[in-house]
Point group: C3
Chain length 274, copies 3
């Protein structure tokens, strides 16, 4: 299913420029290398445009934003747009503070994003321009389940229509939507929510997959989401076998990403088109 | 012994706001998740009050402080006091530079702390408003041993009297003291000093335990200190068995925190009241 | 071969002040502890001179530089020079942006470095004052091989002559050169390039080895480069045995550094003098 997508990452070894938070930045760098890309983290206003210019995609993550880095995000985003590079947004904690919600608004008004990935609370805050996100985790009242899945898909499609971006909503069920269609991914394991950075890492991996496949953002984002989920499932199996815990889960997750091949991805991917 | 304490963390899954250093921030986030809490790291002046308001406790760690983040610490601390949230201070490297020592003084004069945790050199610098801390490790001349234990306990009690905070002094023997009494904890293993962040992680875990048990800061801090020490002991056993090393110790330590249950805590805790 | 060098690290347990990037800072702290040193990370202008004064070496890494930290690097560097402490430079991404290349120029003009460590693209950018570095990895056109090895050695010697620093160029073959001689190290494994931070970690370890052996910077840098390479080889063997992946490689690498002894280092080191 995803053969062309994976092949191109290995061929191109794309450089992915990340302006990201200092909490999970090391995991993002390592998972980018694991999936076959090359990371560069740079956030100073004086260099972000140059760094973006030599890169193949830009990932903007507002996890520990500040005034200085917000300016850099805007400048890098505009430059990436000029060069037609894929630009990915991770609106970490949007809805939890006015600064985060306003920064997202400003980014959306000045930069065209290829993909926006977040949990349902964050994506709702992006949609509404306000929210009541509980920190960086999805609010319990925002749970996506079988009853409201159709509704959430419709909402993702309409946000895609408005922004032009592919919308990726992650949780126990993942939704990847453009204005016309949605892919539903049912990979992953609940224990992944017990380690910091699974969301940030997925956003980075989407950056790598899109950098190598700029003409097929929807498929690249779906493949990345499946890849991450599958690595999480395999890592969980390992944790159970070894009777280890959450920190081992993270080590195994990145290990599996470094060993992921097409056969595994095609066999384990659970995708439905809606 | 600690049954109510642990139960409440699992029930409440408290949100812990950390303004902390960029060296060990990822470990702090992961150990907070491992012990059943939820981390949010945010340090911009424009959002720290809002983030503190949606959280259940605030952890201030001065490990890589700068002018920008010191202002945020003060603002967040005042807001947390207003809301009666537990506020925990980790005076990393107090005594090693005037900036650190002065920042601690300023924090103590403007914010009321529930807990202050550091090694003996740092706590002495907090007490004296000056010091000769060797970097971020305790100075050799500051060793706590059986001969001076009573003296150190008295010193901790009098710092608690002055600040109103529970004082946690960690080392080969850990002391948790309020103005009236002290708990002596003899868990942990010397190899824990060979990984970066055991102190920062304990401070974060104290934040989680206090967030869920704001009415019993002394017991919550003692339970957190035992929990961290026990996880270190178990991790060390695993390292010996596998003939691995210090990086594996950190992985196992967080693994054990994610599996810690009341039975283990009660069986392994070595606490004496003084 | 390296007996005196290793012995002195264990004896002195030197304090290494790092002004470094937030991507790999945790790995740098942990590998410093693993090799027997003590790390302190501090980058605020108001404290860097004091922190440098209590330390035994200074490591400057420009991986995520910004205006604020560049000033701190300059101030700390001058202070370390005044005190005759070893100062190590890691010009991460020099050549990838004007900010990085100019910062390196400014650092070289105001601070005397004991060691400069980078990949061949970065070291060329240091030499030329410009470059076309592809992100933080060596450009493919810059490969060091048997055909151009003599030429690269000559280039390293002449950069050493100009700067007074020992030049360490790392890649599949590592070159450690002063103006008169060069050591060629053939330890390490290609999989090390698939984890973030091997370069930064080596620079920190060089800092530790030089801090304990300030009178023999060339030998200390060579020993550190061998040590890192050997730990990478051992870690790779473990990854193959366990069928794990890149994240496990990093854990094992730091584990082996924490267990490195003189016997292992002397047995495994592959050094030739040129």
């Amino acid at each position: 299913m995803f053969d062309r997508i994976i092949e191109k990452i290995r061929e191109k070894s794309p450089l992915v420029h990340c302006i990201t938070n200092y909490v999970t930045v090391n995991d993002c760098a390592n998972i980018l290398l694991a999936c076959g890309a090359s990371p560069i983290m740079a956030d100073d206003r004086l260099e972000v445009e140059e760094i973006t210019s030599i890169s193949n995609a830009l990932v903007i993550n507002i996890g520990t934003l500040n005034e200085r880095t917000v300016d850099s995000m805007l400048a890098a985003g505009r430059k990436a747009n000029e060069l037609n590079h894929p630009v990915i947004l991770d609106p970490v904690g949007a809805g939890a503070s006015r600064l985060r919600t306003d920064t997202v608004k400003r980014l959306l008004s000045e930069v065209k994003f290829s993909v926006i990935r977040g949990n349902i609370s964050e994506i709702k805050a992006v949609y509404n321009g306000s929210g009541n996100t509980k920190g960086v985790d999805a609010d319990i009242s925002d749970c996506v389940n079988e009853d409201n899945l159709s509704e959430v898909i419709q909402f993702a499609k309409s946000l895609s229509m408005r922004t032009g971006a592919v919308i990726v909503i992650t949780g126990s069920t993942d939704i990847i939507a453009d204005k016309d269609k949605a892919n539903i991914v049912r990979n992953g394991h609940p224990m992944m929510s017990k380690i910091s950075g699974t969301g940030c890492m997925l956003t980075s991996v989407i950056g790598a997959f899109c950098a190598a496949n700029p003409a097929d953002i929807m498929e690249a984002s779906t493949a990345a989401t499946c890849a991450m989920g599958i690595c999480g499932e395999l890592a969980y199996k390992r944790v159970v076998k070894d009777e280890s815990g959450t920190s081992s889960l993270k080590v195994h997750l990145i290990d599996y990403m470094s060993k992921l091949d097409l056969k595994l991805l095609d066999e384990w991917a659970r995708v439905k088109v809606r």
